[in-house]
Symmetry: C2
Subunit: 414 residues, 2 copies
């Protein structure tokens, strides 16, 4: 199919889906749960093709692992479908209703956005997750996975369409872009009449190229250069626990901490213990001159280090004079993703919350909590640092928009 | 200034403004109220230059009128500043707070978007309105008015900067693009690091060119092809009143009705009276074949008529078989701007509200009510039919976004 045909088919089907009942949508998701289990053997056989190709091309083993569909991954897919089935349907919710002086009752009602294009890499379970979130929120989905997972994605896409047809719904509400041709994708991203939103997930280079070529609005984050500021008044044990968790619990994620800022009066007591704990977990610490005068065997941090999203067991550490310097550093080097303060001071807690405008700002908690499930959204379609429409994790509500509704009795404009 | 210098200056100043107190922001707006009155003579003298040029260039008198700053227009500017002063400051509002099972208290706090570029034509009062709304919501503003109002806009911009300086604030939070050079504007709209949003207001051609050239997100509406569906069960008097108001109260606006859809069983009783009332007000009626067989002297409507935003005393009228046909017509020809049903039937009212996904959907009220003041937002920065971030009139809240905040006691990711 040409990109315009594919986009038009999705838009047409999505217009019907927008008014579909929650019950019917949930039946499709249940059918998909069943199909994933029933067709396990053929799914794994298709996945094998991708794995073999990856090994032939000598893909690093960590990446091959992310491609693999085994029992554990399949069970997770089914479990996350169950989560989405249990989530409240946002479509049709009336968010607010108020009276105007002329008696007009005005409100806002949630409706789907339309057709959402999701671009992602490697992990094939995103195919099922992205579809289920778009579908439950009444949106058409155009899925564009990585070519390394082509066979797996095609097999999953086939099951999704089968589930739709089983329940008497139009299979066209979901589309798969199965060509690796960038020109095809870029043409699709110019179809503003048929595609309403694009969410690219993956490396910064992929996302920048999508932003460059898309005429459709893009929700995205480029990177997570997350910082924790340990205040003068911080509880030392809490600071140690939170910083360690934020760095080592899963260092390859966008919400792992990359920079530690420590108040100068807190540093002598806190930093030596912190560095010892970090090193015990294999973390390489890079410090400013002040850090190095306190702990001489720390590697020197360069200017580039403060910009760096390591996604690895490396942490840059800076001693700051005060909170102004900490907030200034975050403003200059941060990525508006996730930043935290560790403090017992009331005023400093509130000042940090107010003045740091990142998608999640925490007091006394780990940056790793910036996640749709952890924050209570129930699910997540990625994290946006686009300061428009959605800022932070995107759940089902973020895949809708509100229209105004008005109940009148003949009101006119005077 | 080069576009990057101008955008960077706005961004830098806006970062400070984001944390400014409501009191201080209101003092600036009050200072501007005073300056508008004190400098009335010089303001009107500058406006005269634009008016003279417009007359030399034989601009139509309706357009010249829109350019004019006289006592009435000045008083309206001051009054609308007063309105904005009285509106609640959205910045810092905590929209919601909820507990997670681990005790983490999670919430959403409103913050400014950043720097907003407003592009507009002719009426110079938009310079003051757009600034005041951006400023009150903590955003930097880049204003780009039409070249026909260049002297007036420059004079108003001077007063805005003077008010900022009087109150000890950075004048750079507002910038004026005073060149008509399109290349300059397009370069500005690629500065995604410094400009966060663009709102173009004006003709469809202007808006399409902004969308084509901008890499910054755009909120806009191209046009308002608004329809009213008069249901079988409609109260005839109410239908006559609402349709007449929607067409003639101000026909040149985007929320005026352009298409009337009438249920076939209602048409014989309703349409002859409606057409008579409309004609009495000077409206030209164009109808489908069924309308013409009922009222033979009605002009025939062509396929193009159903797409038309007349912005004039013209109305296209169609007789439909049922509500399916009415909703189908709106989906096919409408612009997702404003649509209304006139009905006394409970089920039809709700079905229309649910199934028509326009920025405002009304039951038994005039489409002319799609306006920030009328709906109770207190002010308006235009109407968006972009189904993202804002859909419908944009008030102060729509010029903000929410960040997540979290109050913890050492919570970690397990």
């Amino acid at each position: 199919m040409r990109p315009d045909e594919l986009a038009r088919a999705a838009k047409g089907a999505a217009q019907g889906l927008a008014h579909e009942s929650t019950e019917k949508k949930n039946r499709v998701l249940s059918a998909l749960e069943r199909l994933l289990m029933e067709r396990k053997a053929s799914l794994i056989a298709e996945n094998e093709k991708d794995l073999r190709k990856a090994e032939e091309e000598q893909m690093p083993s960590a990446l091959v692992d992310r491609l693999r569909i085994d029992d554990k991954v399949l069970n997770e897919m089914v479990a996350s479908l169950g989560d989405v089935i249990r989530l409240a349907d946002p479509v049709g919710e009336i968010v607010k209703l108020w009276h105007r002086p002329n008696g007009l009752l005005v409100g806002r009602m949630r409706i789907p956005i339309g057709v959402i294009c999701i671009i992602y890499e490697s992990r094939p379970n995103v195919t099922v997750d992205a579809f289920s979130l778009c579908f439950k929120s009444g949106n058409g989905a155009i899925l564009k996975g990585g070519k390394e997972a082509a066979h797996s994605n095609k097999a999953l896409f086939g099951l999704i369409r089968e589930a739709l047809v089983q329940e008497g719904m139009r299979a066209d509400v979901v589309q798969l872009v199965d060509t690796g041709d960038r020109a095809y994708l870029y043409e699709l991203l110019k179809m503003t009449d048929f595609v309403d939103l694009v969410i690219p997930r993956g490396g910064e280079a992929l996302i920048r190229s999508v932003v460059e070529h898309s005429r459709v609005p893009v929700l995205k984050h480029y990177k997570g250069v997350c910082a924790i500021y340990v205040d003068e008044s911080a509880d030392t044990t809490q600071a140690l626990d939170v910083c360690l968790n934020a760095k080592v619990q899963k260092p390859a994620t966008c919400n792992a901490v990359e920079t530690l800022l420590v108040h100068r009066t807190k540093a002598p007591e806190f930093l030596p213990r912190m560095v010892e704990l970090l090193r015990h977990k294999g973390v390489i610490v890079r410090g400013c001159e002040k850090v190095r005068s306190l702990i001489p065997d720390v590697e020197p941090a360069s200017e580039q280090d403060w910009h760096e999203e390591y996604l690895d067991l490396i942490l840059s550490v800076k001693i700051v004079e005060n909170m102004d310097e900490a907030i200034g550093h975050i403003g200059r080097y941060g990525s508006e993703h996730t930043d935290a303060i560790i403090t017992t001071d009331y005023n400093n807690a509130w000042r940090f919350l107010r003045e740091v405008n990142s998608s999640l700002v925490l007091v006394n908690a780990s940056t790793r909590l910036n996640d749709g499930y952890q924050l209570g959204l129930g699910a997540e379609m990625g994290i946006s640092t686009t300061k428009l429409h959605a800022f932070g994790p995107m759940g089902l509500e973020e895949l809708t928009v509100t229209k105004f509704i008005a109940f009148g009795e003949g009101q006119l404009r005077a």
